[in-house]
Subunit: 238 residues, 4 copies
DNA sequence: AATGAATGAGTGTTCATTCAT
DNA sequence: TATGAATGAACACTCATTCAT
């Protein structure tokens, strides 16, 4: 039974498959991000990746496969890069804020690729869109856990968790999607700081608010909205 | 001087141009929404509109023109349908809530078309993207005015107006963009009611909160989140 | 029976047919000459002639008809404009030289149209090409008669009449066909004068030579090749 | 720097490019000659050449490129085939006559293609027409050299060299352009013989005339105009 | 008689995909 | 395994021609 997410390769050597696919997908993500799925040709991807067109068909069934794995690559980047950024952060409120900051940072590095996910998911064959959506849900869950812990620990009052998480998600994505409008008004740090002011702070209990204040007086720029420093562009997609 | 937004027609009769373009654009919006810009062919649009392929080129310079005017049509729907829905509503808080409700309602009727705007704006020639963005900004301003009046009248505390407006916008758009995830959890009314709880209520002053409470006890379902009724699908695009 | 050269008109009023066809053909000759038959569209001709596209089909069966009559118009110009230029010229040698001069003058005024005849005769339906060729032959005959009279009167020795006439014809046409190469070297007068030196003079008898000398000492610039004066461009095609 | 005459190929293997282009151009010359540039479709060329339409675009940028190289191919045939025919011919008068004969022979083999050059040069983009004209000039120069040697060696009196060369050229081309009129009257040999009588003999000095007489009594049919034999049709275009 | 909107067959061109080497 | 030449279906766009008004 062929699973919708499975992409067959004519090549058997697993190590090689891994490597070649990575090489091709990095090229694909770059080009798809710049010019979109339909205006990027297989031979452009081949040229960018430094391989022949034929080779791409040894590692992917068709162009749709390349898109699917490209989108997966992007989503996995989200999923994999947030947790390490939370390591060592203990306080639930701090963890939530850090998660937002991490997510936005990653989006900032993958701005074009994030836009790509919005543009091109629908270009996938229907059964595969689900896979991409599931990837998004997994990332959402990272935020949801942070939020839930805040509530559980009494730092935040009861809210519509699910919807607030979606506000967080769209807030982070908006940095890419509406970058043309936001760039002029906010640095990334300022954007996140103000976002926390609107989407976290109002729901904190006295206890939670104290934690936020402490955090602000202590550390990261993004919580105070003072930062003008831009984090390094272009987190690698793999 | 050829403006980037100008689309020339070979036909001069203004009345006819209006009519034919409408006919063709309705077909185009439908197909672009369903299948995307690149997978929709001119001859499909022609068939859907009940005209010949040649005729499309009497009213549009090329396929890009059809997309531009399709997107403009969608954006103008937003811009034109919100204000009438606010008529007669006096209280600033009520106006803000009504604006959100109206915007979401319209998005709901144009769900696919809203997704289209996200997917396909980048498919436009660069100079024309700006036009679409300007259209979006004009709609944003409708919300901004409502928000500002709440603050000015002391119903809401001072907030980062610009960013909060963007939260409102992404909240409304999310109903279309994330419909696959939200549909199972919320009716549209419930969605808006909960959204007001997260994005309006926390910023209200005591005075403002009183107004919201009054409104809730009095009128529209959406403020209480009780509604399961779905509004009629497919608001006409023109 | 439909003759190959017959072009039907939906309009009966003979006077009007004459006028409208003239109007349209003048536009057609101009555009065909400039841009060639295939790259000129019916609607361009209509615009140039100041009529609607539909009207053209009231006076011509199809585009091929327009070309046929355009070419006929050009050929008839040759045929009709040479004889008046010979009026009053008595001496056979003088008549021959004058015919060459006249022909070249006309070609000069219809340079583009002459090229058109070479380019586009083959674009006509096969049976109609003959008509154009016959038109050319009739013009040739004008030269042939002049040449024959020179010989008959003992001004020229016996030559291959038919071939020499063709040299005359290609000489005149070359002024249009090779204008890009000749223009830099010769004025039209000089061109004709030198041409007479190569294609007439060598075949003259002593008697004929005397006539030529007399003519040169007496009159037209073109016989001496001194003229730099260009005759007025663009003899009207009708 | 992109030269106007340069035609890019997507394929790199020089040998293959040579071969495929030849294959395609032979088909193109044939079809263009028969039916003209605009009425020949790329897919007809592909079919005639036994390849797919797509392949043509691997070796030519667009249809205009195919025409350019077709015309170049024809002109190069002139340029390359005349010199070998003069090899071993010593006497200037004999060389001149042989050059005319050779040129006419080649034209006879490429009759349709010669007409093509007249019809279609103007269909090229303006900057490329020049290339074709330069090719023609190079061929003219071959004749010019022969003529000049006759004069230099005292076999011919001083004449307007440039113009006489053009008479030679149009004489040769006329065999193709006016074949419909000449065919009935002349064999190719007779045509050339008579042409020599009109365009060479009159300008010869006594010395030159002697050489011509000697040549006539000795060798090739074309000098005496007796030949009815037609040379083999269709000299290969490459 | 005159208009010009409407038609749709036909063209040049692109590009995902295959396959011989 | 890797190449890149070859394929051909598909598409945007044009324009001669028709016809209702």
């Amino acid at each position: 039974m062929k699973l919708p997410g499975h992409v067959a390769s004519r090549v058997v050597d697993t190590k090689l498959v891994e490597e070649r696919r990575g090489q091709i997908l990095r090229a694909a993500v770059k080009l798809f991000s710049d010019k979109g799925y339909y205006t990027t040709t297989i031979s452009q991807i081949a040229r960018e990746a430094g391989v022949s067109t034929g080779l791409i068909y040894q590692y992917f069934g068709d162009k749709d496969d390349v898109l699917l794995l490209s989108l997966k690559l992007v989503l996995e980047t989200y999923e994999k890069e947030i947790p390490p950024r939370l390591e060592g952060v203990k306080h639930p409120v701090e963890r939530l804020c850090m998660a937002l900051w991490a997510y936005c940072t990653i989006v900032d590095g993958l701005r074009e690729a994030t836009v790509l996910a919005y543009r091109s998911t629908k270009s996938l064959r229907a059964d595969r869109r689900t896979l991409v959506k599931q990837g998004e849900l997994r990332t959402n869950r990272l935020l949801q856990v942070c939020l839930r812990e805040c509530i559980a620990a009494g730092h935040m009052r009861r809210v519509n968790e699910y919807l607030l998480v979606y506000q967080y998600v769209t807030f982070c994505h908006a940095w890419a999607l509406k970058h043309w409008a936001l760039r002029g008004r906010f640095s990334l740090g300022k954007y996140v700081a103000e976002g926390i002011g609107l989407l976290v702070e109002p729901f904190l209990t006295a206890k939670g608010r104290a934690a936020l204040t402490a955090m602000r007086s202590r550390t990261a720029d993004f919580t105070r909205g003072a930062s003008q420093a831009k984090p390094a562009r272009r987190a690698r997609t793999a």
